[in-house]
Amino acid sequence: MKAIKPQVGHQVGRSLPRLEAREKVTGRAEYTHLMQLPGMLQAKILRSTVAHGRIKSIDTTDAKKIPGVFGVYTSDDIQTVIPDPYYGPAFHDQPILAIGKVHFVGEPVAAVLAADPHIAEQATQRIIAEYEELPAIFDEVEAAENKVLVHEELKPAGTFADLKHLKGRKGTNIALDFRLRRGDVDKGFASAAHVFEHTFRTQKVLHLALEPYASIADYREDGVTIYSGAQSPSFVRTEIARLLSWPENRVRVKVPYLGGGYGGKLYIKMEALAVALSMLARRPVKVALTMEEQFYTITKHPSTFRIKSGIDKDGKIIARKCEVWWNGGAYADVGPRLTQKSGFTASGPYDIDNVSIDSYALYTNLTPAGALRGFGIPQLVWAYESHTDMIARALKRDPVDFRKQNLLHDGRPQATGTILKNAAIEKVLDRIAERLNWKKPFDRGQGVVRRGRGLAVALKAVISPTTSVAVVNIAADGSATLYCSTVDMGQGSDTAMAQMVGEVLDMPAESVRVVPRDTDVTPYDMGTLGSRSLFHMGHAVRLAAEEARDKIAALRRELGEPEGSNAPLGDLFRKKYGMQAGNIVGTGIYKPDYIPPDSSGLTTNATPFWMVAGSGVELEVDTETGHVRITRLINVADVGKPINPKIVETQLSGASLMQLGFSMFEKMHVDGGQITNASLADYKIPAIHDVPPVMENMTVDAVQDNGPFGAKGVGELATFGVSPAIANAIDDAIGVRLTELPMTAEAVLRGLYVKNNRPLGDD
């Protein structure tokens, strides 16, 4: 008898609601910050009050006397269980608790454990730490002069072969310098009809996930289990195993849902401290930070970007020189990687024969900086798309036409020398221009309120090379379970991965179980970062599902099923094993090809896929107050073929709103190394009234040929173009050019006064 299987239909391309939606709207979704273990102690941290200093003494006597305090710990205690307690993804430079010196205000100096967090908190206030203050450095450009040194010696991790030459280097704050030389930039400038040079700056901002950083460690003699709001569980496992000199299989990292990540929860954050304290206490220990403490954990890189372009008489950009200084704060985190990878595309989405790029990762005495939704790209686009617009305006060229004349196209070498492929830059630009009715006249207004419009397009080379592994397990009733370590922090990865499994196995995505990340169970993944997961893990998941599908087909043949039979899977298992028993397991491993850049920064294979996006803005400027009201925000991206169009749209929308905050008002104010607005009361993030009345989020018709089901990554895309599109629109409205973020009403008003030759003083 021939069983008829229902047609399930395509799973890829469905706008399926998130698989975990029910858990989230009922308040039942699991987050580390909310987790409790039996016998758990809570840690509270004493943090440095000085930006740079030698620790003279730490007196914990009074703190230990408080009833209910389990213990008070400094680096001396940490080193009894972890002798070399330095960690980090690129450099092993960050101690679990400060050793000898403190390097930024807010650096963890001591920790208190108590069952009651109020008691632990009270006890931290009774610890007396004394410092001998040292000169500190805060500005990234000044840091490059090496007059004040943050670290005596550089300590690159062994993880990255190309950092080994920096090991033991002394007398410098430069953690890494990336250098790219293509053609002859000086010759280009010499033959140019016009040369423009501008400098742009970005400010210190932070991820500010609403679930603050949290890790729980439960140490036992035979192994440690870590629960953590972490974006890279596999890295946490490797790094903790290294710190303990243990094999990886004694370290288990479990990651529930994340209450936001945005790059902040990457690599290793609170995990090492939680493990060390659990080792000392022999009890489960939770390190759950407050909102304020997030300001002392990790931030985005402030940057200074000096950019110079040479234009020939026909308006072609023939030379571009880029110098970028990245303010990495006191510990390298992933800054050196960001410095290099973003350096690849610092010259923008333009076809330029002569390019010179110097990108410097600097240590300063500030909260460390790491990845934040864009991995450096938003800072670069801010500069190069403002610069490009300024050139167009100076040359009296239409900003869209000028860009189109200079755009990179598929088949042409990008600055690194890698040939551009599947990068729909022109389509994205055209669509933004079309949505803005760019060719039609635009009413800029006459009175107090002036109107303007602007746009920007951007290119990113996705980080490479990285590896993802996935397992698809078919149970004896035919149901499928996916094991992968991609972390769903709100981007909808669980749903997208289930859709890919469903597509291959011809089953509804809703029926696929996605196992929460657990390194004892879910295989290796480099990390949920840089918009890499849908592509890399997507391939691994596809391969795993295909292997399972092939094994099912083999089983059908083995059991003598006629060709084309679609007997239910459960029947096959029963026939094979005599009962509902057995499994079919498919595995998939994906790592793209990559050729590291040579000493000139050139490579023929910089990335497995190019990310392309842009934004268009219409706005109003009140010329009496400087207030800017964004009336329309358009985000357009090339995502290949979307796996889940609705989730793609909300990712674009959300990313652009986050960048709107970074563009218009977010800023960590630093005074002598002290952050003076470390709370949500003083640091404003976008709220519902900040949403522009009209928002459009769309993708262009495109296919990523080497992507899983034609798709590629999305998460960061709509952060790229927002800031320069706004600056360009402000210039369009009132003729004031802002070169520093954020673009506050005060900055706009000051610009207007300067324009009218009446500059305002600093009071």
Partner: protein
């Protein structure tokens, strides 16, 4: 930390409860520690983000600022009460259909605020929705979808009450 616990009585999600609380404990701590309810959660700790929202006598309050002892004699509703039999509330259903969240950490707060709004105004316009939700933050930026969800929830609630 010397303190004297106090016994308070209140109605929690429709049931009468009696509990000993410390004077310095806020509503979120009490709900989590004594009732294992984690839908209201502290984020900013300053009453500015709305993640800790609970309804007290029908009014939304910031559970991270409101002291637990103040709940004596009140009627408290948390997000956990909205789907008592497993069937989602129209507001929850609307949030799912509109994709009105990403990471989900702020979602219980938005859901409860929407419940409170629709109690007062069955058919709110965009401006009323935005004003009502201006004290709730979503770092993932799902605001446009949230506004859509509130409008859909209003339609669903109406259809439910008339049909």
């Amino acid at each position: 930390m010397r303190s004297s616990a106090r016994t308070i009585n209140f109605t929690l999600n429709g049931r009468s409860v009696s509990v000993n609380v410390q004077p310095h404990h806020n509503v979120v701590e009490m709900l989590q520690a004594q009732f294992a309810l984690f839908g209201a959660r502290e984020s900013c700790g300053q009453g500015l983000c709305g993640c800790c929202t609970v309804l007290v006598d029908g009014r939304p309050l910031s559970g991270c600022l409101y002291l637990a002892v103040f709940l004596d004699g009140t009627e408290v509703v948390t997000v956990e009460s909205l789907a008592p039999t497993g069937k989602l509330d129209p507001v929850q259903q609307a949030f799912i259909e509109c994709g009105a969240f990403q990471c989900g950490y702020c979602t219980p707060g938005f859901v409860l605020m929407t419940k409170a709004l629709l109690e007062q105004t069955s058919d709110p316009d965009d401006e009323q929705i935005r004003d009502h939700l201006s004290g709730n933050l979503c770092r993932c930026g799902a605001y446009p979808e949230i506004v859509n969800a509130v409008k859909l929830a209003a339609r669903k609630s109406k259809a439910g009450s008339t049909g």
